[in-house]
Amino acid sequence: MTWRVGTIVSVHDETRTARSITLDVPDWPGHLAGQHVDVRLTAPDGYSAARSYSIASAPSDIKRFEITVERLADGEVSPYLTQEVAVGDPLEVRGPIGGWFVWHPEQTEPIQLIAGGSGLVPLMAMMRARAAVHSMMPFRLLYSVREPDAILYADDLRALAAANDGTAITYAYTRVAPKDWARPPARVDAALIAQATWPASQSPTCYVCGPTPFVESIATLLTAAGNAPDRIRTERFGATGDVR
């Protein structure tokens, strides 16, 4: 797979620290919901750094896709992508990458999505893909997020829930919950898994994305709840995402 040069066609701040960037890539082959791309920045002196970012948009025929980048305080790439880039700028990308952490519209089992923070991004692509093909397959999302202000795609999530056509969303706040929220801020635990996710007897496929400790914790809880390990698909991210 080779690097291609795309052009930024829109930028949109999702939260104080996260920005969505839409790229137009002339020879883009198209993607599946759940896949990611590598983005490479090269300095004038030739130094380069690459990072992986999940695609947030649904698959489409137009040669265009959206990524969402969360700014890391000590990041080498994310501060540039969230603060410096502008419409019209070129950006080097490689992808689409990954054929395992993906959702295909042909799947007929219930789908359980569990996101930790910006782990929502590839799962959002799956929900958008479901909506785009008017699938009636039942989806549940359990979204663990620091505080209400950190919610990505807040308007889209509200619209998905309001449509009431088979996507159920549960928020788990870990630091600050909205006023009068029933559950005090806490990590996802066995009780919440039992309450908000498909029972294992329904044989859901579970997609879990988040920082490594989050993914390990959720995978353990899902397995303890009776889900078969081969029905749990995981994708981990972290500040160490540079494999070059």
């Binding site: 990458i97 054929g99 395992w100 952490f101 490594t212 698909r233 995981t234 991210f237 995402g241 494999v243």
Partner: protein, 90 residues
């Protein structure tokens, strides 16, 4: 020699770099760990990136499956920790 517990990613994170070597998707490829015999998708491997390249370890037993280093014009892969890898060639 025990690896740090939470300081890894997974095979998804290595897939872009490995796409320069393998024509088929590596994340869905099924591999057998030569140490413990478990069969898993490469996406499930624990990948350590704190090196000039990366090291993939078995998610079951932590044994090294694959080492990858790119230095200038050369790429080195050492994969004796994998008995085999099966790719979907469609």
């Amino acid at each position: 020699m025990n690896p740090p517990t939470d300081d890894y990613l997974d095979g998804n994170a290595a897939a872009g770099e490995l796409s320069t070597i393998f024509a088929f998707d590596i994340t869905a490829a099924e591999g057998q760990c030569a140490a413990c015999g478990s069969m898993k998708r490469f996406a499930e491997a624990h990948v350590y990136t704190q090196s000039p390249g990366f090291v993939a370890r078995c998610a079951q037993c932590d044994a090294v499956l694959l080492r990858y280093v790119r230095t200038g014009e050369r790429v080195m892969i050492e994969a004796r920790g994998l008995s085999f890898l099966v790719f979907d060639a469609t």
